[in-house]
């Protein structure tokens, strides 16, 4: 029963947390690509397409990670960092006008 619960938690963390982290990475990537000179829509499309690979990697990592809490911490950092970068740099975009 405990094993089943642990498995469920791992799946939820991998699928849900993995998506949140991917989402953060994708938004940061979109902003960074835009800053690197891609047009806005090009940056969106490229970042989104790469997102599928990122998510796949995170899913596999989540299933294979020996310690779930370390994986969860990694996800939290990636999601938080990603959205923070996007937010900060997007603020910059707005300043530029």
């Amino acid at each position: 029963m405990r094993a089943l619960l642990a498995t469920m938690v791992r799946i939820v963390v991998s699928v849900g947390g993995g998506y949140a982290a991917t989402s953060g990475i994708v938004s940061a990537l979109a902003v960074v690509l835009f800053r690197c000179g891609l047009t806005r829509s090009e940056a969106v499309v490229l970042a989104s397409m790469l997102g599928f690979g990122v998510y796949l990697g995170l899913l596999l990592w989540g299933i294979a990670a020996p310690r779930l809490w370390r994986f969860a911490l990694g996800l939290a950092l990636l999601a938080g960092g990603g959205f923070a970068v996007a937010w900060l740099m997007h603020g910059g975009v707005v300043w530029i006008g």
Binding site: S23, L29, E42, V44, G51, F52, I63, H90
Partner: protein, 521 residues
Amino acid sequence: MKPTFRQSMQWLHTWAGVVLGAVLMAVFWSGTLLVFDREIDRWMAPMTRLPVIETSTPLDPMIRPFIATAVEVGASSITVALPYEREPTLRVSFRDVSGLARYNLDPGTGRILPDPETAAATDFLYRFHYSMHIRFANVGIWLVGLAGMALLALCVSGIAIHRKILADFFTFRPSKNQRRAILDLHNAAGVLGLPFNVVITLSGMIIFYAEYFPSAVRSLYPNAASYYSEIFDSHSRPKSHVPADAISVDTVRHAAQKIWNGDRIQYLVINHPGDAAASMRVVRATDNIVLLQGDTAFFDAATGALLYHRAKPEPVKRAQGFIAGLHFAQFQHWTLRWLYFVLGLSGCVMIATGYVYWVDKRRKRHEQQGLSGVRLVEGLAVGSTTGLIIATLAFFVANRLLPLGTTFLGYERAALEGWAFYFAWIVTFAHAWLRPRRAWIEQCWWIAAFAVAAVLLNGITTGDHLVRSLTHRHLWAIAGMDLLLLAGAMVAALAAGKLQRRAVAPPASSARGRPPSDGIE
């Protein structure tokens, strides 16, 4: 969670397949059928089985009355889809007060064809393929996306758990023992089909990139609408409120074809019909390219002057369009079309054998320990393989049995066909759980019966039986569908017969044997 990476991947491969196999099967099966979407449409809408006309046939006389009507009812636009080999009707649609008015015309005579009253493949199966018809909060699209990610994870984990990937290319031992043969088939389909499975799954999800990763759009655009208005290349100008006649559709069509080296026109849209500021948007067909976004040109509808012709899309959007085009397979290439079909079927075989292997391996142990898992999963496996095929065939049979104009409980014919699909599907699941021992055999017989019934009903209700359809070029789509149905019936009957013989006399020697030893234990 498992001591080694390989064991973790093993666990992932086992359980992701069991939990999401039914969704994967539904998406793979419907996608395989959709390779021949227009052909299924012709089969399900007999009034549209028309000989293909010459592309130079003037369309103006046929379209003019509809433009006049559209102007009268104040439609903001009118769309004209041009006939071609796979879709031989001329389709005109515009929005009036009562909703979308749609007409199918015979381009040879200009006659308005009766409403097909079917959602057929390009609507029903298409929506089923990407959303399973679950519209609530886009749950269906996300479920299919999750299954897509699972399939990618299954591909990676499938490779990770194999030491002898190359040997699996050449290994198939159907006579060794049953479980070994199932596993060999699963491996062969999985390894040979690997490039296709990865590309088709990834490309399917990349079509919906903005749906699955809205955060990318949100980080650079104030809202989704502003993003779409930027990427959907369009040209618009306000209505002048000065009435004017539109010039010949054929003139504009030929002007556009001149830009595109004579390539076919897919469809054209007249904006603000009847106004002096009316424009025609002309879209090039993608017969000879993979890229999905067809070229678009805008013409002044009053003078025929070219207003705007967009440049090529930027490189990343072009790449995305190419990937989407790989998935939609709208190019005209029959060899590739059949290859897509065969590879799609091999994907279905991979999913089905994965299920069967899971069940077969645990059957004895679960029986001894009194566990119900095998029974549950076997029901799921039966319902999502043979059951899904039966549901599809019930959809075809219902299409041939329901007369035009049928309504039932307020539902129209097109919706009733869909209900037939889902009703049959539910019945097969119930049957599989109620009669676990006999379900495979009986459902194989049902497949054979339904498929033969569909062919017979097509012959009886439309007169396009095989002798006729094979000898008329424009009915080859019908002949192809009938022949595939008969081939399917034959395979199903052979399978049923074989399973039946095995159920009567379980072979003592071949049922046992050495367990597989390539890491799948």
